[in-house]
């Protein structure tokens, strides 16, 4: 795994040799701003449906290992 990741990093290192003086990094392929919408709730509460995909749920809560001693 590490040898292959190193070979990928070595390949992308080609970029270091490129003169990009004065070039602005691309922010969006079509040079458009991100659209904004009103800050209002648009989704209904569907947690029962969504939690059917959860490996472990109890009383509507997702279970994770104990994190506070």
């Amino acid at each position: 795994m590490s040898a292959k990741v190193s070979s990928i990093v070595a390949m992308v290192d080609q970029l270091q040799a490129v003169d990009t003086t004065g070039v602005a990094p691309m922010a969006h392929p079509l040079d458009r701003p991100q659209r904004l919408r009103d800050d209002v709730v648009t989704e209904a509460d569907r947690h029962e449906l969504y939690q059917r995909n959860a490996p472990l749920v109890e009383r509507g809560l997702y279970l994770v290992p104990k994190v506070i001693e």
Partner: protein, 486 residues
């Protein structure tokens, strides 16, 4: 009936020469007969397809059908389909049943298309051969020892073997065009933002775009005019009117200038592929197109820039897969400490190529490396985009190879990720610049299909599809069916 194009099948359905139910049964039988040897499908939704076919037949009888009503299609398993397993080719989502439909799934269903199943793909769309799938490689119908291309390899193989009339795909660095080329079919990646990404599992959000895999450009036009269009659920969706592509492709040919980047025809391209491409370009000339040589000076930076930007975005997007809310959770992981819990879920849920890209992406975004890698890659991306802009000031379309060579063997490139990545050397540029691009069959080398790539300026899908359609009216490469599937 499987030898017909989508446009022809649509005509037969509306003339009641065939019913949606008959068609659906026919294609389901073909999947049952051939998919054991191709592995193009992860899930076949037989009962649901027959129910929808019955509904389509009622719509056709009432006369409120669209051109897609009753057409059997398949979705790449990257698109969420409500109530149907949506795996993204990964063990991580092997148990995931999508709670809602992707926007394009909804739009195609509303138009009456019949979904026969979900197609195999490289894990999380990361691959160019369909070999990284948790569900095993897809085989190329032209030669089952070869790959069909990827990541939309299942969709490509299913259309090439005529197991469905058409299929959806996604293209982040060539994942529609490259498998279309290696499988002998037509594939289009529209302009970034043209088709909604809502409900399409994210890989690299600034590059991902949904599109189609079909026999012909006219078929692509029929699908795309339904799939494309503004969607408020996708923050990068373009709010632009959708042209009637299927009408526009049939309008008379206009004299266009086609730019041919000479550095696409250098040593990296198989000489036999080059000859097939030159012959196809000569066909365009016969139609009245003018060819103009040009250079894309920074295109050699596209592979390294892509392998910074795409893994960076993937490492962020894939952090959501933690095995808590959905997806794979290792056995008894809940009894571990939190760090071990995450490590086991993600360590066992993801395959090696996905892990390589998450590691690469995390590395290039890390403190101290961000400017040198990510910011530099975004600058290189701008240089590549500027090259295309200069080209489109002189020409209407850029044409060249889709892939360096015909399909390669299963297992041939899995040992060396860089060799695999170089397969997308001609396709990645369009993703980095957000441009529409397509691949169409343009000949055969050693019995295997070759793809011609057409790239256009932003929102020029109609121009690309029209040029391809006019070429397909005077050539028959797209009508060839792999042996044994006719």
């Amino acid at each position: 009936m499987h030898k017909q194009t989508l446009a022809q099948v649509a005509g037969d359905l509306r003339a009641r020469r065939v019913s949606a139910t008959e068609l659906t049964r026919h294609f389901l039988e073909r999947i049952e007969r051939f998919d054991g040897e191709l592995n193009a499908f992860i899930t076949v939704t037989k009962d649901r397809a027959l129910e929808h076919a019955a509904l389509a037949d009622r719509r056709l009888a009432k006369g409120d059908a669209t051109p897609l009503t009753g057409i059997p299609i398949a979705h790449k398993d990257i698109f969420c389909t409500a109530g149907v397993k949506t795996s993204c080719g990964s063990r991580m989502l092997d148990n995931f049943v999508a709670p809602y439909d992707a926007t394009i799934v909804e739009r195609l269903q509303n138009a009456g298309a019949i979904v026969l199943g979900k197609t195999n793909m490289d894990e999380f769309a990361m691959g160019s051969s369909n070999e990284t799938s948790y569900y095993g490689p897809v085989r190329n119908p032209w030669d089952r020892d070869l790959v069909p291309g990827g990541s939309s390899g299942g969709s490509a193989a299913a259309v090439a073997a005529r197991l469905v009339v058409a299929a959806t795909g996604t293209d982040t660095g060539g994942s529609i065009r490259q498998p279309a080329a290696l499988s002998g079919i037509t594939g289009i990646k529209p302009t970034y933002g043209r088709v909604s990404r809502s409900g399409m599992i994210a890989f690299a959000s600034s590059l991902d775009q949904a599109g189609t895999l079909t026999q012909t450009a006219e078929d692509a036009a029929l699908l795309l005019e339904v799939m494309a269009g503004f969607d408020e659920r996708d923050s990068t969706s373009l709010d632009e009117p959708v042209p009637r592509y299927s009408q526009l492709v049939n309008e008379p040919w206009e004299k266009i200038t086609i730019g041919v980047p000479e550095n696409f025809f250098d040593d990296g391209l198989d000489p036999d592929n080059a000859a097939a491409l030159r012959a196809a370009l000569a066909e365009f000339e016969k139609l009245g197109a003018r060819l103009k040589s040009l250079r894309l000076d920074h295109i050699h930076l596209s592979v390294p820039a892509y392998y910074v930007v795409a893994p960076a975005e993937a490492s962020s997007n894939l952090s959501r897969f933690d095995g808590v809310r959905y997806g794979y959770q290792a056995e008894d992981a809940i009894k571990d400490d939190l760090m071990t819990f995450y490590m086991r879920n993600r360590g066992q849920g993801f395959g090696p190529e996905v892990k390589r890209r998450i590691l690469t992406g995390t590395y290039v975004l890390s403190a101290g490396y961000f400017d040198a890698y990510y910011l530099q890659a975004q600058k290189a991306r701008q240089l590549i985009s500027d090259d295309f802009a200069r080209a489109f000031a002189q020409v209407d379309i850029v044409a060249g190879p889709t892939t360096p060579a015909p399909a390669f063997g299963i297992g041939q490139k899995t040992g060396d990720p860089i060799q695999m990545y170089l397969n997308d050397i001609y396709t990645i540029g369009a993703n980095l610049a957000g441009l529409p691009a397509m691949s169409l069959p343009c000949g055969f080398v050693r019995g295997l299909p070759v793809g011609l790539q057409l790239i256009g300026p932003h929102l020029s899908e109609a121009r690309l599809l029209k040029a391809a359609h006019h070429l397909q009216r005077v050539t028959d490469w797209h009508q060839r069916i792999p042996g044994g599937y006719g």
